[in-house]
Amino acid sequence: MEIFEAGNYDIVVIGAGHAGVEAALAAARKGKKTLLLTLHLDALAMMPCNPSIGGTGKGHLVREIDALGGEMGKNIDKTYIQNKMLNTAKGAAVHSLRAQADKEKYRVEMKKVIEKTPNLELKQQQAVSLVVEDGTVKGVITQTGAKYDCKAVIICSGTYLKGKIIIGTTSYEGGPGGLLPANYLSEDLKKHGFDIIRLKTGTPARVNKRSIDFSKLSPQYGDAVPTPFSFDNEEVEVRNVPCYLGYTNEKTHEVIRQNLHRSPLYSGMIEGVGPRYCPSFEDKVVRFADKERHQLFVEPEGLDTDEVYIQGMSSSLPEDVQLKFMRTIEGFENVEIMRSAYAIEYDAIDPTQLKLSLETRLVKGLFTAGQINGTSGYEEAAAQGLIAGINASCYIDGTDPLILDRSTSYIGVLIDDIVTKGTKEPYRIMTSRVEYRLYLRQDNADRRLTRLGYEYGLVSKEKYERVLKKEEDINSQIERLKTVKIPPTKEVNEIISSRGTSPISGTMSIYDLLKRPQLDYSCLRDFDPEGGNMDEKLIPLVEIEIKYEEYIKKQYAQIEKFRQMETRLLPEDIDYATVPNLRLEARDKLNRQRPHNLGQAGRISGVSPSDISALVVHLAKSQREDKNED
C-alpha cells in the first residue's frame, strides 16, 4: 500500500457511532482540529439495534451527558416519537426517562450537527493502523493509504472490529446493519500490546408493520406531557406514537425446542461471550422452560418506514425458523421479516488496560470509547465518547483529565467499573451498580455536573449561571417553606387525612408536612399564599430535596468517607514490586492495572484491605523521606 500525507489534525476519531460523534464534537468544541472517520457516511450515529434512547440507568447517562455539554439528549429531543418517564411509582432516585427514536431522523439530525460544527472534518475512510513512535500515537493510516498526522486518537470502533454475523448455520464477515467490518485495526492493536477479547451480542428481526394484526396486540403509549432529555429544552413538542405488547405461546416454544440443534449457540459455532441481559429468545425458552409465555414489544423504527423492531425476539436461529416461530404468535400469523435477527461477534480490548481518563496505558495519546471497551448500549458509548473527547483535548493541552468518580455520576460508575474490574460480557449500566443513587438522580444531573461541563469548556457561562440560579431558587424555596406554618384546622386535617396520613394537632410548617410520603405540595398549595410565584418546574425538585433530606445527608456522609480514598492519588511511577508487605497477587494486579488512586486500588479484585494498609504505610513513608531530602 502506498502511503501519502493526507493532513494534520489535533485529534482523529475513528468511528462515528454514538461514542465517536460525542468524542468528535467535544474535541472540536474544545477548539481542537478534529477529524472524524467513519466506514460509511450514511451510518453516522446509526442505531443498529433497538429504536430507543434511555431507560433505567441509561436515562441517567443521557441527562449527565447533557449536563456536561454532550449532544445525545438534544438530538433525541429533536427526533423522538414517544417519551416516557419510567418507575414513577418507585421513588425519584430510580425515575428514568426513555424515548422511542425515529432512527433515520436521529441519524440525519446528528449528521447535520457534525457537519455544522467548526474545527470538525468528517470523512468516509477505514482506519487500518496507528502510527506510534516512542510509545506515543502520532497518526492514523487508512485503507486508501492516507496518513493523517495527529496528537491524539480516539478509537470508537463499535462492533465493527473483525465483525462476524451469524444467522443460524450461515455466517459471514460483516458489521451491524449490513455494513462492512473493519478487519485490520484490531490486528494493529495487538501489535501494540493490547489484549483483545471477543464479545457477542445480538439483535431481533425487523418485520413489516403491514403484516401484523395490531388488533390482537395492546397499544402502549408514552406520557401525555413529555419530559425533555436536555436541560436546555424547557419543553418539547408532544409526539406519542404507540408501541405494542404481544405474547409468545406454547406453540412458539415448541418450534424453538424442535429446532435448537440448528442454533449456532448450542452447536458451539459462536465463541464470543454474550450479555446476560440480552439473551436470545431460544435461550429464554431453554432456561425458563416452565414459563408459559414471554412478552414481546413491537416498536416502530421511525415515522417514515414500515419496519418495526420486535423487542424480546433476539435470535441466532436460521431465518426459516425465525419466520416459523414468529408466525405462531397471535397477531403475527402472516408476519413478513424485512431484516432477520442475527448475532454478531466482534473484537474489543480488555478495558483494564485503560486509565480512568480512558487513555490507554500502553500507547500515550490513544483513547478508546464505547463497545471497543467492552460496553453495550448507545448511551454507555456516548458517555465514554464524551469523556474521551474531553480528555484527549486535555492530553494535548497538558491539563488534568476529567475523572468522574463513583460518587459524582452514573458515568463515573460506568468507567470505574470497566477500567477497574474489566468485563467478561458486554457491560450495561444498571441502577443497582450505583452506590449513591439517592444523590445521583436524573432530576439533578444538571446541578451535579454543569459546573464541570463549564470548567472543561463545553458548557456556556450563561447555561452554567442558569443552573446556579436554579440551585439557589430551590434552596430559598426550601427555606421559605420552613417558615410557612399551617394551623391544625378542620379543613387542613381533612385534606391530610384523605391522603391516608394522621391529622396534625399543632401548627406545622409545610416543610415538615412535606416530609410525609403521602403528602405533596399540590395538596398544601392553598395554604401557601406566597407560593403563587414559584416556578412550576421547581416544585417537584423542591419536594424531592425535602422528602429525601435525611437520607441524602446520610449519603453525603458516606460520599465524604468514600472521597477520602478517591482523592489519595497513587504516583505514576510507583513500582509495586518494591512495596513491602504487599501480597504477590496484589503486586501483579497493581503493576498491571496501575490504579489512579487508593480507592480504585481497593476495588481491583485480588487486592485486599491489608494490601491497601501496606500501600498506605509505604506512601506515607516515601512522602516523609522525600520531605527529609528537601
Partner: protein, 458 residues
C-alpha cells in the same frame, strides 16, 4: 477500609493482666463519645475539662445502668500517641465489664480499631518513626494467620453459614425489587408492601436470633477457665509459663511463692483459654497463704477444667491425696509432671484408670499434647455451642447490631409509606453490614441473582 478521620476504640491492655484494663478511644469524636457514657460526681461535663487530666466516675449504659467504676483520662491532640484526641477509660470491673464498656463505646459512634490501627495512625500522623512503622504490617499479617487456623475456621464456618443464609434472603428481596426497577416494562410483579414487610420481619427475626447467641458464646469469648492445682512446688507456675511460652509468673524453689491468683489468657489454636494459676492448696499457717488457698479452692470450683499436677518422680503423699479428694467430682486432667527427674511406678499406677499425661514443664515435654487435650475438652464440652452458630466477637456483634438497625429502619419506612428507592437504601445497608462479617457484599451478586431468576432482555 481506612478512614483516618473516624473514631476508633479498643482494649489497649493485654487481656487478663492485673485488675485494670484500659480502653483507648482515638479520633475526632473521642471526647464526644466518652462524654455520652461517662457520669461524673456532681455532673461535671467531661468536655469542659482541661487537657491531660484524669477524672473519676462511672460508665453508664443507655438504660442508665452502671457498667463500671472508672478513671478517664483526657488527652487532646496533637500531643498524644496517635496525634489525635485520645480518651482512655481505666476499667476496674474485670474482663466482662471491660467488654461491655467497649461495646457501649462502639454503639456510641466509635468503630472497633483494626489490628495495629492505633500504631498506624501514630505513624501516619508523624508520631512514631520508620522502624516502628515496619512492625505494623507484621501485626496485621499475624492476626490474619491466626484467623486462618482450623479451630477458628470451624467456629466462624458455622456462623458464616448462618449469616450467608440471611444474606441470601436479603439478596433475593433486593433482586426482586431491583428487577422491577431495571425492567419496568416487563410483566414481573412488583413486590407488594405485604411481601416486603414479611421478608423484612423474617430477616429481622433471624438477626435477632443470632444476636441472642452472643450471650451463649461466653465460654468462647471469656475463654475456657482452666485451674492449675497441686501441692506447692510441683511446677504449677512453670507449667503456666510453659503454656504461656514466656516467663510471666514468679517461679522459685520456695513453696508458696505464688500468692495471688494470676489470670492468664492463652490462645490455643485460636481458642481463648483462661488459665488460673493457683497458689498451692495446703493447710497453711501463714494468714496470707491461707487466703491464697481458699481462693485456690474457689478457683478450682469455678473452673471448667482442672489440671492437677503432681511430682512424678516421688510417690504421692498425704497432701496430694487431700487435693485429689477435693477435685474428685471435677473435670480433671491428671498431670504427672517433672518426668525429667524420673517416673515412679506407684504414681503411674495411681492414675492408670484416669485421663493422665506425663510432662516436664521444665523441658517442655508433652506440653503440645497437653494443649491438644485442653482444646479437645473445649470442643467436647461445648458441643452445642460449637455446632450452632454463635456470635463471639465484639466486631461481629457490632455489625449485627448495625444490620438490625437498618432492617428495623426499613420496616419503619415501609409502614410509613415511603417509596421503594428509600427503603432499598436501608435494605442495602443491612446487606452490607452482614457482608462485612463474611466478606464483601458486591453489587455484582444482585445482578447475577436477577439474571439467574428472571427472564429478561431484547
Amino acid at each position: 477500609m481506612l478512614y483516618y478521620r473516624d473514631t476508633i476504640a479498643a482494649i489497649s491492655t493485654p487481656t487478663g493482666y492485673g485488675g485494670i484494663s484500659i480502653i483507648r478511644v482515638s479520633g475526632v469524636d473521642a471526647f464526644e463519645v466518652v462524654n455520652k457514657i461517662f457520669r461524673r460526681p456532681g455532673g461535671k461535663n467531661f468536655l469542659e475539662q482541661g487537657k491531660n487530666t484524669i477524672h473519676y466516675g462511672h460508665i453508664i449504659d443507655e438504660e442508665g445502668n452502671i457498667l463500671d467504676e472508672v478513671l478517664v483520662s483526657k488527652m487532646p491532640a496533637p500531643h498524644t500517641f496517635t496525634a489525635e484526641d485520645v480518651a482512655e477509660i481505666n476499667c476496674h470491673g474485670g474482663i466482662v465489664a471491660v467488654r461491655r464498656v467497649l461495646e457501649l463505646v462502639t454503639r456510641m459512634g466509635a468503630r472497633l480499631a483494626q489490628p495495629g490501627e492505633f500504631t498506624k495512625r501514630a505513624f501516619l500522623n508523624g508520631r512514631i518513626d520508620l522502624s516502628q512503622a515496619e512492625a505494623i504490617s507484621d501485626v496485621i499479617t499475624a492476626k490474619t494467620n491466626l484467623a486462618a487456623n482450623a479451630a477458628i475456621g470451624q467456629l466462624t464456618g458455622v456462623l458464616s453459614e448462618k449469616i450467608n443464609e440471611i444474606k441470601q434472603k436479603i439478596l433475593t428481596l433486593i433482586s426482586n425489587v431491583e428487577v422491577t426497577i431495571q425492567y419496568p416494562e416487563y410483566d414481573i410483579e412488583d413486590v407488594t408492601n405485604e411481601e416486603l414487610l414479611d421478608s423484612l420481619r423474617e430477616i429481622k427475626h433471624d438477626i435477632e436470633k443470632l444476636l441472642k447467641t452472643y450471650k451463649q458464646g461466653e465460654i468462647l469469648r471469656e475463654g475456657l477457665k482452666v485451674a492449675i492445682c497441686g501441692k506447692p512446688n510441683v511446677g504449677k507456675s512453670m507449667m503456666l509459663n510453659a503454656l504461656l511460652n514466656e516467663e510471666k509468673a514468679i517461679v522459685t524453689d520456695i513453696a508458696g511463692t505464688t500468692r495471688d491468683i494470676v489470670d492468664e489468657y492463652i490462645s490455643l489454636s485460636g481458642l481463648p483459654v483462661r488459665i488460673i494459676d493457683t497458689a498451692g492448696i495446703r493447710e497453711a499457717g501463714d494468714i496470707v497463704e491461707r487466703i491464697g488457698i481458699d481462693r485456690s479452692i474457689k478457683a478450682a470450683n469455678e473452673a471448667d477444667l482442672v489440671l492437677f499436677l503432681c511430682d512424678a518422680s516421688n510417690p504421692l503423699d498425704e497432701e496430694d491425696e487431700k487435693i485429689l479428694e477435693i477435685l474428685k467430682d471435677k473435670n480433671v486432667i491428671y498431670i504427672l509432671n517433672k518426668t525429667d527427674l524420673g517416673i515412679c511406678d506407684e504414681v503411674i499406677k495411681r492414675f492408670e484408670d484416669k485421663v493422665n499425661l506425663r510432662t516436664s514443664a521444665l523441658t517442655k515435654e508433652n506440653i503440645d499434647v497437653l494443649e491438644e487435650m485442653i482444646i479437645s475438652q473445649v470442643l467436647s464440652n461445648n458441643e452445642d455451642v460449637m455446632s450452632n452458630a454463635v456470635v463471639t466477637s465484639v466486631r461481629h456483634k457490632g455489625l449485627l447490631d448495625d444490620a438490625l438497625r437498618s432492617v428495623s429502619q426499613a420496616l419503619d419506612c415501609v409502614s410509613m409509606g415511603y417509596e421503594i428507592d428509600l427503603i432499598q437504601v436501608d435494605i442495602n445497608d443491612c446487606w452490607a453490614s452482614l457482608g462485612n462479617i463474611t466478606g464483601q457484599a458486591v453489587t455484582e451478586d444482585i445482578i447475577d441473582e436477577i439474571f439467574a431468576n428472571f427472564c429478561l432482555g431484547k
